[in-house]
C-alpha cells in the first residue's frame, strides 16, 4: 500500500476534522486517554499546555506512521511509534518548559504517559491504514484538537468549580473553594456529562440525516 498525495476536497477534510472533534472524539466517545485529562485537567493553563504537548508528540508520530510504517505489523509498529514519540518528548519538553516553568514538576507522571497514550497509538494506527496523506494529516490534527477540546472543557469547568477562577482570573470575589472538584473522581463525572452532551449532538445529527433522506425519497 502506498501513500498518495492527491488533493482531497475541502468539504471532506472539514468532515474529517468535525468527526474527530465531536462525533468520534477519542476521549469522550472512544474513552481513550482519560488518565491525564482526569488527573491533570484542573485548570485552563494545564489543559492548554498538555494539549500542546500532545499535538507536538502526535502529529509527527502519526505522519511518520502514515509514511514509513504502512506495511509493518501492529505489534512491531507500536513499539517503534513509542520510541519516536519519546524522542519527540525531549523537544516538546524544552518548548513547553519555556512557556511555563515548573509545568513538568506539577504534572509529574501524566506528561510522559502521553508517549504511550492510547489516543496517540490509535490515531497512528489509523494513519498507517490511510491511503491519502492529506486525510491522514487531517485525522491527526483533528485527533489532537479533539483531545485539546476535552482537556479545555474539563480544565475550565474544574478550575471554575474548585477555585472560582478561569485562566487564573477570579470570577467571583468571595468564592468558597470546593476541594473535591479537583479530585480525579470529579474529572470522570465531568467526562461523563460531556459524553452525554456529545452523544446528544450525535443523535440529533442522525435524526436530521434520516429526515433529509426520507424527504429525498419522497420527492423522488
Amino acid at each position: 500500500m502506498k501513500l498518495r498525495l492527491e488533493p482531497v476536497p475541502g468539504q471532506e477534510l472539514r468532515n474529517i476534522l468535525r468527526d474527530e472533534l465531536i462525533y468520534r472524539n477519542s476521549v469522550v466517545v472512544g474513552a481513550l486517554g482519560m488518565c491525564p485529562v482526569v488527573a491533570v485537567g484542573i485548570s485552563l493553563q494545564n489543559a492548554l499546555l498538555l494539549g500542546l504537548l500532545m499535538a507536538i508528540l502526535m502529529i509527527p508520530t502519526c505522519l511518520f506512521s502514515a509514511v514509513a510504517l504502512k506495511n509493518v505489523p501492529t505489534w512491531v509498529r507500536r513499539p517503534i511509534l513509542c520510541i519516536v514519540a519519546s524522542l519527540l518528548y525531549g523537544l516538546a519538553m524544552l518548548l513547553v518548559e519555556d512557556l511555563h516553568t515548573g509545568f513538568f514538576e506539577e504534572v509529574s507522571l501524566y506528561a510522559p504517559i502521553l508517549v504511550v497514550s492510547s489516543v496517540l497509538l490509535t490515531h497512528a494506527d489509523r494513519c498507517a491504514e490511510e491511503e491519502n496523506f492529506w486525510r491522514a494529516l487531517m485525522h491527526t490534527i483533528g485527533g489532537s484538537l479533539g483531545f485539546l477540546l476535552v482537556l479545555v472543557l474539563v480544565g475550565v469547568g474544574r478550575e471554575f468549580l474548585t477555585f472560582g477562577t478561569i485562566g487564573g482570573r477570579k470570577i467571583f470575589q468571595n468564592y468558597h473553594t470546593i476541594a473535591a472538584t479537583a479530585m480525579p473522581f470529579f474529572g470522570m463525572i465531568v467526562i461523563g456529562y460531556l459524553g452525554a452532551i456529545f452523544k446528544k449532538i450525535s443523535v440529533d445529527r442522525e435524526k436530521k440525516q434520516a429526515k433529509r433522506a426520507k424527504r429525498k425519497e419522497e420527492t423522488v
Binding site: H176, I178, A179, A180, I189, A196
Partner: protein
C-alpha cells in the same frame, strides 16, 4: 356503568411512590422536633433550603433534557431532608446547597431518578461536602455553651466543639451520658443525635413495610461486632458510644435500608447490612475522618448487584466448589416445574 375486566377481588393498591415518600416526610417531620427544641428554627431553615435546592435541580434537569418533569413523587423532598439531617446545625448554607445539588444532578437524576440510581444520593452528597469542607462538617455548635444559636446572621461566631466520635478517634472516652444521647442533647449532626426518635422511626418504617428490618439489624450487628472485637475505648460503654454517636444509627435506618439500592433477596440483605456495618467502623478506625457511614454506604451500594448475583447463584445451583446438596437442588427444580405447570 363501568365494565371491569379484571378478576375479583377488586382491591385498590394504595402503595404508590408518592404515598411512600409522604410517609417518609411524616417520619422526618418527627425527626426535626428534637433539633428544633435544642437549636431553634435553624434546622428547619436548613431543611427547607436543601429541599428547595433539590426541587430546583430536578426541574432544571428535566427542562434541559426536554423530558416531562417528574417531581410529583416528592422524592426530592426526602433526599433534601436526609441531607439536612446529616449536616451540623451550624453549617453554612452554601454547603447544604452544594450537597443537595451534587446529590440530585450527579447521583440521582442522570441515572433516571427515583429508584434507578445505583448509589444513595443523600450519602453521596454528604460524602462530597465532607471531602470538600471537612473543617466545617466536623465542627459542631457547642450545645452546652448556653449561647443562643442565631438563625440567620452570626453563625460563624458561635462556639464550636468536637463530637464524641472525634474523641473516640483520638482514643479518649467521651463524657456524654446515656440520657442525653437518647434525647439528642449532645453534639453531632442535626438529625442523628436523638436516638429514641430514630428507633421509633425505624419501628414505623418496618411496620409500614417501607424498609427491610434485615438490612437495619445486619448493619447494626456488623458494626457492633466490629466495635466489640476491636474497641477503641475499653469496656461495654465503648461499644455504646460507637453505635450511638455519629451517624451510624441514622445510616442504619435511613441510608442502608433504602429500597432502591438494597439487594432483592433476604440473604443478600443480611450480607449487605453486615458489610455496611463493618465498613463503617473500618472507616472510623482507619479513615481520615471521624465518621465514615456515607463512604461505607456508597461502597456497599456498589457491591449490591454483585451480592444479588452471588446469592442467586448460591441458591440456584451454586458455584463450582460451593453448592447446595444435590437432593435440595432437585427439589428446587421440581418445585419450579410444578409452578410452571400451574
Amino acid at each position: 356503568m363501568e365494565l371491569k375486566t379484571g378478576k375479583a377481588p377488586f382491591y385498590r393498591y394504595t402503595d404508590t411512590v408518592r404515598g411512600m415518600m409522604r410517609n417518609m416526610l411524616v417520619v422526618f417531620a418527627a425527626m426535626l422536633v428534637m433539633p428544633v427544641i435544642h437549636y431553634g428554627w435553624r434546622p428547619v431553615i436548613t431543611t427547607l433550603i436543601c429541599i428547595t435546592t433539590c426541587m430546583v435541580c430536578t426541574v432544571l434537569f428535566y427542562l434541559l433534557s426536554g423530558k416531562e418533569i417528574l417531581a410529583g413523587d416528592l422524592a426530592f423532598a426526602v433526599t433534601g431532608t436526609i441531607i439536612a439531617l446529616m449536616l451540623p446545625v451550624n453549617v453554612s448554607w452554601h454547603i447544604a446547597v452544594i450537597a443537595s445539588a451534587f446529590a440530585m444532578l450527579i447521583v440521582k437524576l442522570p441515572f433516571g431518578g427515583t429508584g434507578n440510581s445505583p448509589f444513595n444520593p443523600a450519602a453521596a452528597g454528604i460524602a462530597f461536602v465532607t471531602l470538600s469542607f471537612p473543617n466545617q462538617i466536623f465542627q459542631y455548635y457547642d450545645i452546652t455553651s448556653g449561647e443562643k444559636l442565631p438563625v440567620f446572621a452570626g453563625i460563624l461566631d458561635v462556639p464550636l466543639t468536637q463530637s464524641p466520635t472525634a474523641l473516640l478517634k483520638t482514643g479518649a472516652r467521651p463524657t456524654t451520658i446515656l440520657r442525653d444521647m437518647l434525647t439528642g442533647g449532645f453534639v453531632g449532626p442535626m438529625g442523628t443525635t436523638a436516638i429514641l426518635v430514630i428507633l421509633a422511626c425505624a419501628c414505623f418504617l418496618i411496620l409500614r413495610k417501607m424498609a427491610h428490618w434485615e438490612t437495619m439489624v445486619a448493619f447494626l450487628l456488623g458494626g457492633t461486632a466490629f466495635a466489640a472485637l476491636f474497641p477503641r475505648v475499653p469496656g461495654l460503654s465503648g461499644v455504646w458510644y460507637e453505635i450511638l454517636t455519629g451517624s451510624f444509627l441514622f445510616a442504619a435506618v435511613f441510608l442502608v435500608s433504602e429500597p432502591g439500592t438494597t439487594p432483592r433477596q433476604k440473604l443478600g440483605r443480611w450480607i449487605y447490612g453486615i458489610l455496611g456495618g463493618v465498613f463503617t467502623m473500618m472507616y472510623r478506625w482507619f479513615g481520615a475522618y471521624e465518621q465514615g457511614a456515607c463512604f461505607a454506604v456508597l461502597v456497599i451500594n456498589a457491591l449490591s448487584p454483585t451480592i444479588d448475583r452471588w446469592v442467586w447463584r448460591l441458591t440456584n445451583g451454586g458455584f463450582g466448589f460451593i453448592s447446595l446438596p444435590r437432593k435440595k437442588q432437585k427439589k428446587m427444580k421440581k418445585t419450579e416445574a410444578e409452578v410452571e405447570q400451574q
